[in-house]
Amino acid sequence: MCDDQGVHTSPPPAPERLPLRRPPSGQRIAGVCLGLAAHLDIDVRHVRLGMIVAALAGGLGFVLYAFLWITVPRGDPWYEGAYHAGSARAAPPLAAPHTPSGPNMAAHPVFATPWWSRIPLRDLAVGAMLVTTAVLLVADRLGAQLQWTLVLSVIVVVIGLVLAWGQLNESQRGTFAATVGGRSPSSLMRVTGGIALVVLGVILILSQEQGPQMLVPALVSAVAVLVGAGLVLAPWWLRLARQLTEERASNARAKERADIAAHLHDSVLQTLALIQRSADQPGEITRLARNQERELRQWLYQETPKEGTSTQEAARDIIATVENDMTAALGGQHPVTIDLVVVGDTPPDPTTHAVLQALAEASKNAVRHGKPPVSVYLEITDTAIDASVTDRGPGFRLDDVPNDRFGVRESIIGRIERRGGIARYRSLAAGGTELRLTVPRTLGATHSPASAQSEKS
């Protein structure tokens, strides 16, 4: 367990300007205007208006928009501004003039990434496009007969490619969970649209020479080739997808295992150490073991309801506390185990609180005066709460308890009777004592607030 990430936790200085990114949501076309607005910290409507005006004025807006679309990476400017400003600033520039063969380069995170991700694809594409445009314009100016239909077809193909490859680029970046793995509907639409555009462009190029009567056969054969290629490649693609899923699952398993290892180290080994130290105290060992079991079970099954929503949980807590307290009270020499069975559940209310307090008091008495096993039973129905505390002691008669002894009379019987319930002690034929309490639940709801107050004291 190395946890040295938490060392450099000085908060990164707030960036004076958000990074230029195309946000993943809220955009009209590709998020260029939205990202620009966030970067320049001005109203997005102004940016859009300016862009439209520029587009109408001789197409400058179109070029600018396309340029930014290609060059600005997708990302959430607010998120990255808040969390990655510090690290982004500290990172060395990507185009650092080092040769990757340097001795300490492999360890550097930038050079640890695969080689192809270091090729500035975007820059290359933009450069190639600009150069091509310039060459075309110069050729046109020089009087060459350019076939503009051909140029348009090529542009269609290029846009299709950008659409499809942009998807790949994003899944590599893995910024957004939805686009990872390329399963989101929008990424599917991008790929489909990209392919359609490329097919269309290729057909347009090919049908330059032949007339439009060749268009339909060309379209049919192109689609046929695509379908055939798809059928051939489908198994391979499926296998890739499956491998990816498996790898993810094994990653999740490894993480879970690490969690368990950390937990075992933190709590179970601690408990084992404590148990070894208290080898001469059988009661203490039982207490430690039972606490650890409770904790481990809770942790493994993760079924703990929210605090204050479950009487079952409250009962378990209170009985665990009694076990712990009584072990300490008996000097750690005697194992204290109380078997608790709860049937039904309800959100805690004053009535359940009173019953649990009475049960806790009664089980303390049972541990102190009776013999194990001590059993606590709690049944919660819509109409009543029925509970019992049973031990195997010599038996017990309420009449034998002097009147000045407050425990049983006040904190058990009194508490229950104030709630309109009945609490009775009796001796079992086979030996042992049983306290049974029954409290009606409808009465608890309409109980006078005065006695509810006295209950909390």
């Binding site: 079991e293 079970r297 099954y301 079924e303 078997d339 069975v341 709860v342 049937v343 039904g344 096993p373 001590v374 059993s375 039973y377 049944e379 129905t381 819509d382 019992s388 049973t390 079992l428 034929a429 086979a430 049983e434």
Partner: protein
């Protein structure tokens, strides 16, 4: 009990097997041991014992643990009785093996006398319920009076008597104490408990399924 009961211990912890073997009285004769699902299924088919002490969590096979052994030994169920053993009283551990055909279950911290009693009871065809399992049954079948079965053969409900018996067991009463509390014989208590076990195994009651599903048991 003139002829000893032949038992098999199926548990992946060799230490636990040795401990049980050492603590058992002469009336119980251990004829087989296994530490994983596949070995268990094989030795049980090779030499079927009278009673199997079956751990709930075990490696091997399809990963189903004790419940898997029970389903793969379904052909032996009329000859061999299964008593499930679990490290704790948790519903998660136990209801699956009961549904798969175990005749009862005990926790591993049970003392040797109680264990041999439980084995003898299971061998006689009776069921062994702990307080916690009785609590589960009450929880799953419902405790309201409207849930009571009018005829005893209704699978989805407990009869009034069965509910009373379950409640007393859940309170921590031994079978003998239940019998004297209800003024019936121990044999009657046992038959009630067996009936409840049958209902627990066969019932398709919606609440039971939902209850088990909520705890990821089915």
């Amino acid at each position: 009990m003139t002829t000893p009961i032949r038992i098999a211990i199926i548990d992946d912890h060799a230490m636990f097997r040795a401990g049980v073997r050492a603590s058992l009285p002469d009336t119980l004769h251990v004829i087989g041991e296994a530490g994983d699902v596949d070995t268990a299924v094989q030795i049980l088919h090779d030499t079927p014992p009278d009673v199997v002490l079956l751990d709930v969590h075990m490696p091997g096979g399809g990963g189903g643990g004790g419940a898997e052994v029970l389903t793969r030994c379904a052909d032996l169920h009329n000859r061999v009785k299964f008593l499930a053993l679990s490290v704790s009283d948790a519903a998660e551990d136990v209801v699956a093996v009961i549904r798969a055909g175990a005749r009862g279950y005990v926790t591993k911290n049970i003392n040797p006398t109680e264990l041999s009693d439980a084995v003898a009871r299971v061998h006689d065809g009776d069921a062994v319920f702990s307080p916690r399992l009785a609590g589960f049954v009450l929880d799953a079948f419902g405790t309201a009076t409207t849930d009571l079965a009018t005829a005893d053969d209704e699978l989805d409900r407990l009869s009034a008597r069965e509910q009373e018996v379950m409640r007393l067991i859940a309170r921590g009463y031994a079978y003998k104490e239940v019998a004297s509390e209800l003024f019936i014989s121990v044999k009657t208590v046992e038959s009630h408990v067996s009936a409840v076990l049958r209902k627990l195994q066969l019932s398709s009651r919606h609440e039971l399924t939902r209850w088990a599903a909520a705890r990821r048991l089915l």
